[in-house]
């Protein structure tokens, strides 16, 4: 309890008093959380009730979520400022959502799994619709609410089935079961696991549970979009990794094939659907579907390298996605979001540094060298190759080549020689705070893209506590 209390207390304290100086308190709270993580990292990992385990793995991911939340909070500041809504509760919701994420990454039990997921989701319903002045936001929120609500039901039912059959709700109890294969007498468990995976798949927005992503990304305010894309997905993926790490999936087993099929479908569909989009937010949505597919490839690989690869890629994906959405948020004029490709034509002329930051982010998504995206993708492919998942790797390689096309479209639009000034292109000034966040994210992407060794060592330590 020594280690966990500061985390929770700091998070809680921040949102109780947040009405006054919402942003400052939020940031102070997040900073305090960060500090407490470093204090906690010095001690041995500990199990807090059967529900939560605060090992280095959880601490690392909580740190990641906290940093991402801080970035989202700062990016939201100017966005909300321009829109004259009452922004105080917004930050509170952000913090509760992060609390949910923190519970998820530390979860070792179905109860905490469900609890964290619900805290996260309920906060998100409100966040998506927060600046309530556009029908589109409401549409996005309702879509999310209905789908998330029904998948939660799936999840609970799945947990119930597994529990009914096995009498266990802990990770350690689940693992040997899954390893044993899911055929024959285990049919109820199998059904339960499938329902569980439906719930998780929805949160991760992998094919075939991806339908909501483009609408929600497009409909939600840009900073919230960034939050959904990073914190929400990252937390669930971290949980998935913790639950399935001890499971040795035999290539050829049903579960493996299911995951492989989902990964391939996500990579293919995400990349192909993004090709024909002209809306930057939708492009980012489809590309995030593809990126989750890439992640599943390393997830299926075995060995410690695979866990490192997944974690490294998630860190890179966080920084990249935050930078990309940050640019969209920073450039959005008060009445709408800067989301059509036409808004970005000739951006380099008007906002040279913003365009540079966006270019770096897009190249990182595309996996070009000098950015973390390159090292991340390299790591994924290495992990896959280490487990001889050749078919998956080849799909990864081919589809990410397709991905180049739509990333470069945005890049070219920004750097065109003769921009047509007429087309209502955005040129909103980027405020200092957002500018600083974008600069920091860009520097992060480049520094660890060139010299990733320190980060890798940190991640190695973090995943070492995984069973």
């Amino acid at each position: 309890m020594l280690t966990v209390s500061p985390v929770v207390v700091m998070l809680a304290a921040a949102f109780w008093r947040s009405h006054a100086l919402a942003l400052t308190l939020t940031l102070v709270g997040l900073a305090a959380t960060m500090v407490s993580l470093f204090l906690a990292a010095g001690r041995a990992s500990r199990q807090v009730t059967p529900l939560l385990s605060f090992d280095t793995y959880a601490l690392f991911y909580i740190g990641l979520l906290t940093a991402a939340t801080a970035a989202v909070a700062i990016l939201s500041w100017n966005y909300l400022q321009r829109r004259h809504v009452h922004p105080e509760e917004y930050y509170m919701l952000l913090l509760t959502a992060t609390l949910g994420g923190a519970v998820l990454v530390a979860s070792t039990h179905f109860a905490s799994f469900f609890l964290g997921l619900e805290i996260l989701s309920v906060s998100l319903y409100a966040l998506i619709v927060y600046p309530i002045y556009r029908a589109q936001f409401v549409e996005a929120a309702v879509k999310y609410l209905v789908l998330a609500g029904s998948t939660s039901a799936f999840l609970v039912f799945g947990m119930a089935l597994v529990y009914a059959q096995t009498g266990t709700m802990t990770v350690s109890g689940l693992a040997p079961l899954l390893s044993a294969g899911l055929g024959g007498e285990h049919v109820v468990v199998a059904l339960g696991v499938v329902l569980l995976l439906v719930g998780v798949g929805f949160k991760l927005a992998v094919v075939p549970f991806h339908m909501w992503t483009p609408d929600v990304y497009q409909g939600a305010p840009a900073p919230v979009g960034a939050y959904v894309a990073t914190v929400s997905k990252g937390a669930v993926f971290a949980l998935l990794l913790r639950y399935f790490r001890p499971v040795s999936l035999d290539p050829g087993s049903t579960l493996f094939l299911v995951f492989a099929a989902v990964a391939i479908a996500s990579m293919v569909a995400g990349n192909l659907l993004a090709l024909r989009q002209d809306n930057v937010k939708r492009i980012l949505a489809y590309s995030s579907i593809a990126h989750l597919g890439y992640l599943l490839v390393a997830f299926l690989a075995t060995g410690e390298q695979a866990a490192i690869a997944v974690t490294f890629y998630l860190v890179a994906y966080f920084a990249t996605t935050l930078a990309a959405f940050g640019v969209v948020a920073a450039l959005s004029p008060p009445e709408r979001d800067a989301e059509s490709l036409a808004d970005y034509r000739g951006l380099a002329r008007r906002r040279r540094w913003t365009a540079t930051a966006f270019t770096v982010a897009l190249f990182s998504l595309a996996g070009m060298p000098l950015t973390m995206g390159f090292i991340g993708k390299f790591y994924l492919v290495t992990a896959g190759a280490g487990s001889a998942l050749w078919a998956l790797i080849i799909v990864l390689v081919l589809t990410s080549t397709v991905g180049l096309y739509y990333y470069t479209r945005i890049v070219v639009a920004m750097w065109v020689r003769q921009p047509d000034e007429s087309a209502g292109a955005v040129s909103a000034a980027v405020d200092g705070a957002s500018g600083a966040v974008l600069a920091a994210l860009t520097a992060f992407l480049i520094v660890f893209g060139v010299y990733p060794a320190p980060l890798i060592q940190l991640i190695e330590r973090a995943v070492s506590t995984l069973p």
């Binding site: 070009m368 060298p369 000098l370 492919v381 290495t382 390689v397 065109v416 010299y451 060794a453």
Partner: protein, 540 residues
């Protein structure tokens, strides 16, 4: 440490040029000149001062040198980089690297000079991109860690993509995206092959490393080796380009601005040849041997197809682009012949093609700056208007068709002699390609510069800056035509050592073949080459 400077100087000059251009665009050009001329001077100095060392290294290890071992390099840098994965920052330089570096910086300098007048938009950003690509190219040629190689290999795509997409001609975006996707897709295939090699070696020995010198001689089943070799081959074949994978090249070369075409034709496509000699064949000698019939067929198709397509073009720049396909066919032929003579020819061809084709691209660029078209139907009789330009074009057209006395002839001759030992039919068909080369080169001169002056075009002849560039290129080609020995000596150690690596396989049984191999390899007096020239004069 000197190796680091080759990458760092252009890499540091790049952002400097961008920032300076905000206030003074002209300053960016001078920074770019400094950023390429300085390493060029450095590498030339190294070449001159280490000529003795090169000879000594060869004498000490002789033909018996057991591959790329420490101590046979001119210089190397090794530092830990991403140690958890066994990736090190490993740069090394031998004779072949030296030649490629000279080429890289010289072509970079030419590219900067050639865009002095043509590029007026975003001068700073343009030179940023040019310098970035030069830095990445230097990295490609210096890396001996396969991950580092792949890193630079991919890194140079971004600036080239921007150069084509932003400063290119009419269909620039299409060409840029096509170039990008072709190269990236093939590069990823190579990455898979590299990783497979990494794991096979790691499992066998327990050391997981991307160090090329350690990966050499990894034992694996021949079917696996063949697949991995194909991964490398596709990546380098796209770059080179080899016949069915060449379609990005005419588009990219045609749509790129002059500087882009010069770097593409001069250095970038040479990575294909370099990669095959340095990595593909030494790593998988047996698989390459099994593949060589296919390789030679593709090479011959490339030679003839490129020449025929060049003849059919109306666009002057596209014509020059297709000649590259043809000339690179010779390079591929030489590599798959894999004997000393052919490999020396390949090295020469790499250099001479860069010089002559680079010059032709610059010439087309200067012409287009003046008359705003590349369509040969709208030209004709230009010699009368601009005699200096006409004479220069004539010279480089002749170099391109392989006129004896110029470097290209020596190169193609050596390749054909080498290929004759490997496969008589390939050599014969390759020689037929030379006939086609004569046709397209002279036909180009006829349509653009000779004949009736029908379009009443009036424009300035070459200015001193341009004359200076061409004079340097002309001098280099003539010197190489009569005295190619310095290049051959410099590359000799690399050529013999890569052959040593493959000596165990069936690939190079001709180690002690025809006597002229010995003569050239041992650094015969220049007369030997000239005498060869004389004999083939009669044949042709």
């Amino acid at each position: 440490m000197i190796l680091l400077w080759y990458i760092l100087i252009p890499a540091v000059a790049a952002p400097l040029a961008w920032l300076l251009a905000r206030s003074r665009p002209q300053a960016a050009r001078w920074v770019a000149v400094a950023g390429t001329a300085l390493p060029l001077a450095l590498v030339t100095w190294q070449w001159v001062s280490q000529a003795g060392a090169l000879r000594a290294a060869f004498a000490a290890h002789g033909p018996g040198v057991a591959g790329l071992v420490q101590g046979t390099w001119l210089a190397d840098v090794q530092a830990a980089w991403i140690s958890p994965l066994g990736i090190s920052f490993f740069l090394a330089e031998d004779g072949l690297t030296l030649i490629m570096l000279v080429l890289t910086f010289a072509m970079g300098l030419l590219a900067v000079l050639a865009s002095w007048r043509g590029i007026q938009e975003r001068v700073g950003f343009f030179h940023f991109m040019i310098l970035w690509s030069v830095a990445a190219l230097a990295g490609v040629f210096l890396s001996l860690d396969l991950f580092l190689f792949y890193f630079f290999f991919e890194m140079m795509l971004i600036p080239m993509y921007f150069v084509i997409a932003l400063w290119g001609h009419e269909r620039r975006v299409y060409a840029a995206v096509k170039f990008f996707i072709f190269t990236q897709a093939s590069g990823l295939l190579m990455l898979i092959a590299i990783l497979a090699l990494y794991f096979i070696h790691g499992r066998a020995t327990g050391t997981y490393t991307f160090d090329f010198t350690q990966l050499l001689g990894t034992e694996m089943p021949s079917a696996t080796a063949f697949l991995l070799m194909l991964g490398f081959f596709v990546a380098f074949a796209v770059k080179l380009p080899v016949f069915p994978l060449h379609t990005w090249l005419p588009d990219a070369h045609t749509e790129a601005p002059t500087a882009g075409s010069v770097i593409l034709a001069g250095v970038l496509i040479k990575i294909g040849a370099y990669g095959m000699i340095r990595f593909m064949v030494p790593l998988f000698p047996q698989a390459v041997y099994d593949f060589r019939t296919v390789g030679m067929i593709l090479a011959v198709i490339g030679i003839i197809y490129g020449a025929v397509m060049a003849y059919a073009q109306r666009d002057l720049k596209r014509l020059v682009a297709y000649t590259s396909v043809s000339h690179m066919g010779f390079v591929l032929l030489g590599i798959f012949a894999w004997n000393t003579l052919a490999l020396q020819g390949v090295v020469l061809q790499i250099v001479c093609h860069a010089l002559s084709t680079g010059a032709l691209f610059i010439l087309v660029g200067t012409l287009e700056d003046r008359i705003h078209t590349r369509d040969m139907a709208k030209m004709g009789g230009l010699w009368a208007v601009a005699p200096r330009m006409g004479g220069t074009a004539m010279f480089f057209a002749l170099a391109s068709l392989g006129l004896p006395g110029l470097g290209n002839f020596v190169a193609e001759f050596l390749i054909l002699v080498g290929a004759w030992q490997a496969s008589k039919w390939a050599a014969v068909l390759g020689a037929v390609g030379l006939v086609f080369a004569t046709v397209y080169a002279l036909w180009m001169m006829q349509r653009a510069f000779q004949g009736e002056e029908t379009h009443a075009l009036r424009f300035d002849d070459l200015v001193p800056r341009e004359t200076g560039m061409y004079a340097a290129l002309v001098a280099a080609l003539v010197v190489l035509g009569f005295y190619p020995q310095p290049l051959i000596t410099t590359a000799r150690q690399t050529v013999t050592s890569v052959q040593q690596i493959t000596a165990g396989s069936r690939l190079s049984p001709q180690a002690a073949h025809a006597p002229q191999v010995r003569i050239l390899a041992d650094g015969a007096p220049p007369g030997a080459t000239v005498a060869d020239d004389a004999t083939t004069d009669g044949k042709r």
